[in-house]
Symmetry: C2
Subunit: 113 residues, 2 copies
DNA sequence: GTCATAGGCAACTTGGAGGTTGCTTATGAA
DNA sequence: TTCATAAGCAACCTCCAAGTTGCCTATGAC
């Protein structure tokens, strides 16, 4: 992967990580993770928050592409969207790889050129 | 993995994601990613922020275990710590796996029991 | 021993995140 | 057609995160 592409992934990864950095949103996502669309009221149940509060969290998830909204009748259904998580995973995997690489080089140097 | 363990990973993943959800910190991390310890002044260079500002970001990264601090003489050296990224990666991988599973089940059901 | 450098710590400012209440509109059910 | 339900929207509150300035301390260099 080019350095340019790396920068791009990093730039788009930060907002995704930020969206994931909240227990409420993480929990909402894990509930939507089964692929089933759910309405706002459904998703509000069990959170201890108001409908509007949950709606804001869903807005954040939607803004970074982690979920999608579809209007059905008077309901707003939210659906899990796998691409966002995939982007985040790629970023972390690249970080892991760079780290492994650095360690490997360090080891070789220690073991005597 | 047990449901209990899942909950634990989720609970400790959120603060890590939050720490990663900032471009400055993401960039600091990627610079430390090569395993080389770096002082605060070194890490400040190129950020456009003050030393104290950068120091705060490093404090956040340290608080969630993404980096470690070691005092050497009058310097504070910060070192990359791979375990945090590993935890975050595990969480995302679990999410991906659940998703794949759900899709697979859906497909089987559609293809006619 | 003196001076420059690295860093810690505290106080302060500001914008936005997370949450609420209150009101209005659309749609489904009876 | 009337009423209950789902949701949107706006205004507001509160608190913390991000960043700054300013000052003090410790350590290395000369």
């Amino acid at each position: 992967m080019s350095a340019h592409q790396s920068e791009l992934i990093a730039a788009e990864a930060a907002p995704i990580f930020a969206a994931l950095g909240d227990t409420t949103r993480l929990s909402l996502l894990s509930r939507l993770n089964d692929g089933q669309p759910r309405s706002v009221v459904q998703l509000t149940a069990g959170t201890g928050l108001t409908r509007q509060g949950v709606r804001k969290h869903l807005g954040v998830l939607e803004a970074v592409g982690l979920v999608m909204r579809e209007r059905v009748g008077r309901e707003s259904r939210f659906v899990y969207q796998p691409t966002g998580i995939e982007t985040a995973k790629q970023h972390l995997e690249r970080a892991s790889a760079q780290w492994d690489n650095a360690i490997e080089r360090l080891k070789r140097r220690l073991e005597g050129d």
